[in-house]
Amino acid sequence: MFQANQPPQWADRLLEWCCAPHLLEDVQGDLHEVYQKRLAEAGPAKARRDYVVAVLHHLTPFFIRRKKTVLRPGEYPSPSPLNPDMLRNYITIALRTLAHNKAYSVINIVGLSIGLAAAMLIILYTKDEVSYDRFHANAPRLYRITSRELSPAGKVENRQGNTGLLQGPTFAAGVPEIQSFVRYKEDRHDMKQGTDVVSQSVFVADTSFFSVFTFPLLSGDPKTALQQPRSVVISEDMAAKQFGTTDALGKTIFFKRSFDNGDTFEPYTVTGVVRQMPQNSSIRFDVLMPMVVTPQEMTNSENWFNIFENTFVLLTPKADIQAVEAKMNRIYRADAAASIKMMAEKFGFKNKVEYALQPFTAMHLSQDLRADNGLVGGSNPLFSYILTGIALFILLIACINFVNLTVARSLKRAKEIGVRKVVGSGRAQLMFQFLGESFLLCFGAFVLALILVQLVLPTFNQLANKSLALAYLLDGRLVLGYIGLFLLTGFLAGFYPALVLSRYSPVQTLYKRISLSGKNYLQQSLVVLQFALASFLVIATLTIYSQFNYLTNKDLGYDDKDLVSIDKSGLTRSEAKLLHDELLKNPNIVGVAPKNGGQWGTVAKINEGKEINFTYETIDPAYLPLLKIPVRQGRNFSADFPADSTHSVLVNERFVKEAGWKDPIGQPVDFWYNKGEVYTVVGVVKDHHFNGLSQEIGPQLFTTKPGNQFGKAFIKIRPNTASASLQYIERTFKRLFPINPYAFSFVDEDNLKRYESEAKWKQIMLFGAILTIFISCIGLFGLATLSAERRTKEIGIRKVLGASVTSIIQLLSSDFLKLVLLSFVVAFPAAWYAMRQWLQNYPYRIDISAWTFVIAALLALLIAFVTVSFQSIRTALTNPVRSLRSE
């Protein structure tokens, strides 16, 4: 409808909508008055146009801004939750509440930040584990050639992550999807360093190494660095060690191959210095040389079965793995046909070998196909799971405490909520206030957690054998995760007062005492959960400790005290005799016994045709007596029987058992693949743990065959003469073998090193258990304080009526102790099951003892009692006059 005597409606609307309410009436009135005047003077069209212009002139911030500064009598501001004055009030109140309840505040913030810090540490750890080897630009297309052996029946008998010389080049030539391949293996060379000779771990790889993997060179050309046979690429560290500078391009290092005794040192030219390799890399080298393979080796089909190195392949994008594997196996069957036949005839090897590809990034955590043979850091995903579990436990408990205490404390603030509602606060405001408060607390805890992580990181790195840094956390997804965690914790902690308490009508909160009977169950079950987790961890720690003690203290069956082991590759019989004679000139040296280096395994036929696999030890007659390994039946090797070296062997009890011999002495052992090598068993040696306790004792066979080289020597020294003896040994060694690197170790220390991972886990579990107990305790302490405070009047009345201090302590503590007892019901079966599973990993293990549970239970009860009674004694001792005086 068009009304001529009224201004345009839309302009009017616009004005009403935009203009601040306190200005609207008179402004609009004035405009209308002018409109009427213009209507009379100049007609409707002009008046309307003028009106619109005038309205548009009023659409300035001055009129649009809603103001409360111009307050007139009878007008009140309507505060928004975000009003600065309200915000200031919220912060004041929050700080006052914190300051007023210092104990809760500290418990809340410190508890949560410890939980967060633990979670952050673990995230760091698992992130590092999961991110292993992912930094290579080609990572998604990188694979390792692996194989599996199938028995004629089709059963998988063996999986092999390693390959030989032929697999890489042959497959790469025949399968178009394989872009390039790298063979990578570890050697030890002697290296001249100044005037010293050190035994240096050296890696050899194909020329394509630097184009397949992402290892940036500080200097040198990655394409040509490994082209010349006498070139070497070294790490920054090695360059600094050798030349004192990373600018080492073109300089020379002298190496001698350890295996061939006759060789002399040869110069190698540095063709590249590689930048510090990332922490999370399976491939880490200080010295890298080009792989040199003779043409004869490459044409020898037998090399298909000579397996000793890792071969990596780079596939084309979008290559189908299964198709590639099928092609590889076709090529293998065609190319190695002769060799397969030969193996079957010569060794009776009837198993079928199949090749497969393992993603490069899956190596680090793989259990069947481990990252070994020159690859480092291979790890067990179980470690990550356990650690993540502990971290989640701790974080969960810390969050529970945080929520629990905030909720409990907010009950005391019910009055505040009531008063706020009476003076006009809306629910939105209360929610904003309480959620904001809990987010603020949470933020404080986060900051503290970051500081804690920074402080603890060095210790943690040592425990977990890593070099993590806080900067590692700066990753898009992780930061998002933290923000998520922050929001979740903040919300969970704030949601009760913000959403539940704010709902109550002020009359209820101010007049009646709200009783929250339902919530008690929640709190109680949270306490039960906490203590269940804590006692679970205590039991786990105790079990791991006793298993560790068992492993390190159990009698190994031989004497490893005061036993020094030195390595000397290619130790000939005459050299061994010379070493023996020279060393025994010193009265501190009790005995010397040479042995083969490393661990050899082989196979032989017994009982007319049955094959048996065993550990093959080459020793001399002095070995068994020196290590105090008793001979159970028959006799030791002896110089009195010259035929021993060519005709006699000793075996261990396990060998006898596996062979099923009733009368082992005189039984033949046939090394059928070496013509005419048939030995007679002349003695049975008592089983001893030559491989440590994490492996079962296997069959073992001892020989003195002259054709087998020694590789090391055990030297028994007189007790407490270590430094003098070692000095003498080193001098003698250097005199006798000047071009061999000298290195010694104590056998008992080596044996302890086998349990390094157990030792680390022992520490981490202890750390986790202590943290969990600590956090549970502060939570319990907070709850006990609150419950005591809530019952102040009740206790006052009880005391007036004659209750004793002990009965009141009992009253206050028994509630909590009951909960702790209840937690055992949950924790013990779970702990028993988990520990039994864990112990299954060890062939030699302890039984889970009932004492572990008793000790854990007593510990938990004691800690809980001390925590609770600290508060309850104080409450029980207060004068009832004080608690009853005020209402």
Partner: protein, 112 residues
């Protein structure tokens, strides 16, 4: 005492309100200002200035005097406050002092 600080337009508005024989409100102030100065001025400028002056304490206002042509809306009547009067007097005094300080024949010299 704080010096009154008024802009030129504010001073004019204030003077117009002071000079108003009837009760001063948006429309008649607007008309008077245009009449007195001969400038075309928008209504919103007058409104803004009036409210500013009220904020500064030179004016005070009451609502009242609704008429039919205003659609029953009240007017906001502005009156000078003591502070406003003093501000005008101050300005007047300063001007008078300055006028007096001008040498007598100076204007004649310039104008010729």
């Amino acid at each position: 005492m704080r010096r009154a600080f008024l802009g030129e337009f504010e001073e004019i508005i204030l003077l117009v309100v002071a000079a108003c024989t009837t009760e001063a409100y948006g429309v008649n102030v607007w008309e008077d200002v245009q009449q007195q100065t001969g400038r075309a001025i928008t209504m919103s400028a007058v409104h803004t200035t009036l409210y500013r002056l009220e904020e500064k304490g030179y004016l005070s206002s009451v609502l009242g005097g609704a008429t039919a042509e205003r659609g029953g809306r009240r007017k906001r009547f502005f009156t000078l406050t003591g502070l406003g009067v003093r501000a005008l007097q101050d300005i007047q005094a300063v001007r008078a002092r300055l006028w007096q300080a001008i040498p007598q024949d100076k204007f004649q010299l310039i104008v010729g």
